[in-house]
């Protein structure tokens, strides 16, 4: 008697529930606030095109950074255990080596000059041709490149996993396993800490005594001559691509060029990207001779003149070259102690 009644009620109620109820609320997702980049000196931004950098907040004792430092200097990453990242990117020497092109395992010569690892976190892409989007992506390249470490990831990971003490370091740094992702992440963390605020940054931030008269005049010439059109922003470069030879044809004047000289073209295959490279940062440039992507120019004075001639269409006199050199000297500094 009770049961059929209950069943009728249940059926009726369920039918009403299934058919009659409809949520017609239009839910629009909240708009995302526009991502803001870091604050910087308004005067420097508007008047010069430069943005000061800072290493405040970088903790050299951070376990992840210390692990990255260890791996950066670890020769087990290379096939024959002969070289490490630091072999070509010597942190105490401007973050590069002193060779035109780096030498890999079995004395294989590389195709391009080693770019500085210092402040590379501020570059908008990595490598001369910008083929890596960030430091972590960049860190995977050299380990398997036949002209660099010529190694194999499975071999590298096996070697590292066999080191009990190192495995502990990985755990202490917050990694669940010793794997490729953890290795590249730790190396990228270390490289991200290699920031070198220089006297010019202090000057940008208001310390008027940070630059001597020659460097100060050099900075003004740097702006007036147009160098700042490309070498600008936080890294005084490193935030755009540009053709090598805007006003003149550098390669026609220097005997053609190689495949490596095609630059960004090798990545995009677009004809307009021939001889296009990432504009290098000029931070610590006084310590990173020889210059250009092929390391073909030994002296900074010659590099300045070539840049002025082929990029700006200007022939510089000796005074301008000296002033620009003095300015470039004010862009050099070392990373925090504990990172070297």
């Amino acid at each position: 008697m009770h049961t059929p009644h209950a069943l009728r009620c249940a059926t009726l109620l369920l039918a009403v529930g299934l058919v009659g109820c409809q949520d017609t609320t239009l839910r629009t997702p909240e708009p995302l606030a526009v991502l803001s980049t870091e604050n910087h000196s308004v005067n420097a931004d508007n008047q010069q095109g430069f943005v000061p950098i800072s290493s405040v907040g970088v903790d050299p004792d951070d376990p992840r950074i210390q692990l990255g430092k260890l791996l950066f200097h670890d020769t087990r990453l290379s096939h024959d255990r002969s070289i490490s990242c630091a072999s070509c990117h010597q942190v105490a020497r401007g973050g590069a080596d002193a060779r035109p092109v780096s030498i890999g395992v079995n004395d294989v010569r590389g195709r391009r000059n080693a770019p500085s690892v210092l402040n590379s976190v501020h570059n908008f892409r990595q490598f001369w041709d910008g083929r890596a989007s960030d430091l972590k992506a960049q860190a995977t390249g050299p380990i398997t490149n036949p002209a660099e470490m010529a190694s194999d990831w499975s071999v590298v990971i096996e070697r590292l996993q066999a080191d009990g003490a190192l495995s502990t370091r990985f755990r202490d740094a917050g990694y669940e396993a010793v794997d490729r992702d953890a290795v590249t992440d730790a190396i990228a963390a270390y490289e991200s800490a290699l920031i070198t605020p220089a006297p010019f940054d202090r000057w940008l931030l208001g310390d008027l005594d940070a630059l001597d008269g020659e460097a100060l005049r050099g900075s003004q010439r740097f702006v007036d001559l147009g160098c700042v059109s490309c070498h600008q922003g936080k890294n005084v470069g490193g935030n755009m691509f540009q053709k090598f030879g805007v006003v003149g044809d550098y390669y026609a004047d220097h005997g053609g060029g190689t495949d490596a000289d095609l630059g960004r073209f090798n990545v995009t295959q677009r004809p307009q990207d021939k001889h296009v490279f990432k504009v290098p940062s000029l931070r610590n440039v006084m310590e990173t001779a020889p210059y250009f992507h092929d390391g073909s120019v030994e002296r900074i004075e010659d590099a300045i003149r070539i840049m002025a001639r082929y990029q700006l269409g200007r022939e510089l006199d000796d005074e301008d070259v000296q002033l620009l050199k003095a300015f470039l000297g004010a862009l050099s500094a070392k990373p925090k102690a504990g990172l070297l």
């Binding site: 909240e30 980049t37 600008q232």
Partner: protein, 259 residues
């Protein structure tokens, strides 16, 4: 017989309750909400990039750090998401956009530098080159046009091109300063046009339109899913209540039979 039918009914209601509970949770809803939020983030970044390009093109700021940071964020956001097929196509749009942004930065730097060089020449009469005395009239036209260009006017660029061609084809020897000046003038014309074409391509809203369409589809799917989930929630509540009531009835009935 009656107890048996009651048990069957209880079992059926339990099944319905469990089913309603399962569908009311709508495991897929989170995905749709994420998709809408993701598209919203893409759209915000895309809009911010377009705005920064206009600011740079107008000369209101002097470096590319902000544009580069926004572009990096957009690329990273694209890579972070592996959604449904239309979302995966976003990366193609982003790649095209990044190529345009890279071209814009490169061209703007060259354009600015050449305008700077022309202005500097015009500002220093002693730096003005001469056309070796053979093209005084043309020289005057050239300077006039260069002055227009230095002021940011490039409408008369075809006249300038003709004037430059005449000078370049002249037999008269040209000083280096003239050649350099003509090179900068050519860059202003060529790169300036290319830059403006790039800006137009960037601002043609094709990516925005694509995102808007995807957003509309995502919102529609989200609404439909939410509506269905609401129905199942109500079904769950009702069937649960009936289940409880029926259980009480069955227990009472069983006790009554026992007595």
């Amino acid at each position: 017989m009656r107890v048996s039918s009651n048990l069957v009914l209880l079992l059926a209601l339990s099944g319905l309750t469990a089913l309603s509970f399962h569908f009311s949770r709508q495991g897929g809803l989170g995905t749709y909400v994420n998709d809408a939020s993701y598209l919203n983030q893409l759209d915000s970044l895309n809009t911010a990039i377009d705005r920064e390009i206009l600011i740079l093109n107008a000369g209101l700021t002097t470096h590319f750090d902000r544009l580069s940071a926004l572009s990096t964020s957009l690329v990273a956001l694209t890579k972070s998401k592996h959604g449904t097929a239309p979302l995966n196509q976003v990366s193609d749009h982003v790649e095209r956009k990044m190529t345009l942004v890279d071209d814009f930065k490169s061209d703007l730097a060259i354009y600015r530098n050449s305008v700077r060089a022309v202005r500097e020449t015009l500002a220093h009469p002693d730096l003005r080159p001469v056309s070796a005395g053979s093209h005084d009239e043309l020289d005057a036209v050239l300077w006039l046009l260069l002055e227009h260009m230095a002021a940011g006017e490039v409408n008369a660029s075809h006249k300038l091109t003709r004037a430059m061609a005449t000078l370049e084809n002249s037999d008269a020897p040209q000083p280096d300063a003239v050649r350099t000046l003509l090179t900068h003038a050519r860059l202003i014309v060529d790169v300036g046009r290319r830059k403006q074409a790039t800006v137009r391509s960037i601002s043609d809203h094709s990516f925005s339109s694509y995102l808007t369409r995807l957003h509309g589809e995502s919102t529609e799917t989200l609404n439909r899913t939410q509506s269905l989930a609401a129905r199942w929630q109500i079904s769950f509540v009702l069937s649960f209540l009936v289940l409880v009531g029926l259980t009480v009835q069955v227990v009472r009935s069983a006790r009554h039979t026992a007595h």
